[in-house]
């Protein structure tokens, strides 16, 4: 009973703290955020919003911490990682837009609002029950006299206190309040955090969207790899395998002929050598299509450099990465760049291409830019939509900026760690 009483008293104190932070901190932040967002069209908001939202996040994170410590309520946090900080106005706009686009920001602001209404109301109940109960006892102890003398009948909760008798009833009611507080205060505190969690937890919708996307990309991955295997099987069957069989046949004919007709045997030997050379060429092309040797030997940077060397258009490759990324990501990025370069050469019509590869903040970013005529798009049937699907398997994204008249810029980003 003592522990329960203590817990209830502590909860009352904590409720008071929460109510105060909600009614001061959250109110101020909520108002400032609304004003700041409202000022974005004027320009000022672009500079004030990011730091303000960071403050809101800190505020929300503090509440998450308290929720875990005080009531053992875990509130998940899902802020998008801040992108690489670019300097200047462009970087500032990027930061501002990035934060506003984050669904977590919407949840934060929503939480600020519930915190200053429902959240504060629930939190304040915990200390209020104790204070009201205590006040009832004080009334009975004699406080009723000056109070009634000053303002006539005093309504304590729902009791009209006008004399010693009713003050005694107030003491009884007050005791009831305190008994109630002993039982419900921890529950009230927990409810407050539950309310916060309801606003702050990433929505089911978001999770469902993510599941949908994962299902779709998994299908794509299975489809493309099955198609790829079929292609490889067919190529081997029709190409190298057939040639090797022919070679074996030739060799056994040669065996029979070598003494009878050396001249014809010699011809067949030449033919056998030619088919073995062709088989090798075919196998080499096949291997290049599955996993280019330079990629295996040197990694993405040099593989793209080697690719650039083979292009008929001058191409500058700039690589900023230490170590290598996981092989599947490397391979996906390589084929994506390869496709983008092929498009640039075939349809871009420019006379220069730039490739920038960088690995920063646990994501691989590649940009392929040409100075051609533009007008490229990620539509149905275009090679780029295939690339987009492939990158999707790795949670990667592809963006194409290609206004008519150029330039075309294809950027891709794949989250991944570097080794």
């Amino acid at each position: 009973m003592i522990t329960r009483l203590r817990a209830s008293l502590v909860a009352g104190g904590r409720g008071l703290v929460l109510a105060l932070t909600a009614l001061i901190g959250s109110v101020v932040l909520f108002t400032l955020t609304l004003v700041s967002v409202g000022l974005i069209p004027v320009g000022i908001g672009i500079f004030t919003t990011p730091p303000l939202l960071s403050l809101v996040r800190a505020h929300a994170n503090r509440r998450r911490l308290l929720a875990a410590q005080w009531s053992d309520v875990r509130i998940p946090s899902a802020y998008r990682p801040a992108g690489a900080a670019r300097g200047g106005l462009a970087g500032q706009v990027e930061r501002c837009v990035g934060m506003l686009k984050d669904p977590a920001t919407r949840r934060d602001v929503q939480w600020l609002f519930t915190d200053i209404t429902a959240g504060a109301a629930v939190a304040v109940l915990a200390p209020a029950l104790w204070l009201e109960g205590l006040f009832g006892l004080l009334l009975a102890a004699g406080l009723w006299k000056p109070v009634v003398e000053a303002g006539g009948t005093y309504w304590y909760t729902f009791l009209p206190v006008s004399g010693a008798g009713t003050a005694g009833l107030a003491a009884g009611l007050g005791t009831c309040w305190m008994v109630l507080a002993t039982f419900v205060n921890p529950v009230l505190l927990r409810s407050h955090f539950r309310i916060a969690a309801a606003s702050l937890t990433p929505g089911r919708e978001e999770l469902e969207q993510r599941i949908d996307r994962l299902t779709a990309t998994r299908h794509d991955a299975v489809d493309t790899s099955a198609a790829e295997l079929r292609r490889i099987e067919r190529d081997l069957h029709d190409g190298a395998q057939a040639r090797l069989v022919a070679m074996g046949m030739n060799l056994s004919t040669i065996e029979a002929l070598v003494e009878k007709d050396p001249a014809q045997a010699k011809e067949l030997i030449a033919a056998a050598r030619a088919s073995s050379a062709e088989a090798l060429t075919e196998l080499r092309d096949l291997v290049r299509g599955i996993h280019p040797p330079v990629l295996a030997e040197r990694g993405l940077g040099d593989a793209v450099r080697a690719l650039a060397l083979r292009l008929p258009v001058p191409c500058e490759v700039d690589v900023e990465m230490t170590g290598r990324v996981e092989a599947p990501v490397e391979s996906a990025a390589y084929f994506a760049v390869s496709e983008a370069l092929t498009n640039a050469v075939k349809h871009g019509g420019g006379d220069r291409i730039w490739v920038d590869i960088a690995h920063r903040d646990d994501s691989l970013r590649v940009a392929v830019t040409d100075n051609g005529r533009g007008g490229a798009s990620v539509g149905a049937g275009s090679g780029l939509s295939g690339v987009e699907r492939r990158l999707g398997t790795f949670d990667g994204v592809l963006a194409v900026s290609s206004p008519a008249g150029g330039p075309t810029m294809v950027t891709m980003e794949i989250p991944c760690a570097s080794s």
Binding site: R288, E297, A306
Partner: protein, 215 residues
């Protein structure tokens, strides 16, 4: 001719040893990994090293790296690199120090034993032996460029053979013309490309590649 050989596949290594010995080369060591190759190159002082690009233990371009490192330690050490595929990037790295005595060939080229051993001899002698595939890639990529566009088809043929590292005599034999005709073609080519004429086989290739490299 004393040869150090590095190739990780037993069948190929065995075949290469047999072939080189059949053509009168002395195989000092036939190794199968990068560290062994580095050790053999440092200790045995061969006339030429025949090296596979991809070697254990890393199974990446370890053979190429060992060869390049050995050439840094002993400039001009003749190295013939063999690979299942040819990559301009690697060809450039081999040629970069300008010392000559390098070769880069597809493994398929061992099909023609005589030509292959000829390439090994050329490299050992300080010349170059570039795979026709490297050269044709370079030529097709640059065919849009003006100076190359002004070459006649015959001159292009000569240039391709020249770029592979062949001497005028060899080119003349292959194209079935006189050596004088080839000399005329080469001086025309150099004039058209604005390059000083040189007798040095190795410098001819470097000149061609340097020109093609200009992008």
């Amino acid at each position: 001719m004393r040869v150090v050989l590095a190739e990780d596949l037993f069948l190929l290594r065995d075949g290469l040893v047999r072939m080189l010995e059949a053509f009168g080369c002395e195989v000092l060591a036939a190794v199968e990994s990068g560290p062994e190759l580095s050790k053999a190159l440092a200790e045995l002082e061969p006339d030429v090293a025949v090296v596979d690009v991809r070697l254990p233990p890393s199974h990446t371009d370890e053979g190429l790296q060992c060869a390049l490192a050995a050439r840094r330690a002993r400039p001009g050490l003749p190295v013939l690199v063999l690979s299942q595929h040819v990559e301009q990037l690697y060809a450039r790295e081999l040629l970069a120090d300008g010392n000559g005595g390098v070769g880069y060939l597809l493994k398929d080229r061992v099909f023609d034993a005589e030509q292959f051993v000829d390439a090994v001899r050329r490299v050992a002698g300080g010349g170059t032996a570039m795979d026709p595939q490297v050269i044709s890639q370079l030529l097709s990529r640059r065919s849009l460029d003006r100076p190359i566009g002004t070459l006649t088809p015959r001159e292009l043929e000569v240039m391709e053979l020249m770029a592979q590292g062949r001497s005028n005599t060899a080119i003349a034999t292959q194209l079935v013309v006189t050596e004088r005709a080839i000399a005329k073609h080469t001086s025309n080519i150099f004039a058209k490309l604005g390059l000083p004429v040189s007798d040095d086989d190795n410098r001819r290739v470097l000149a061609v590649l340097a020109y093609l490299d200009r992008g």
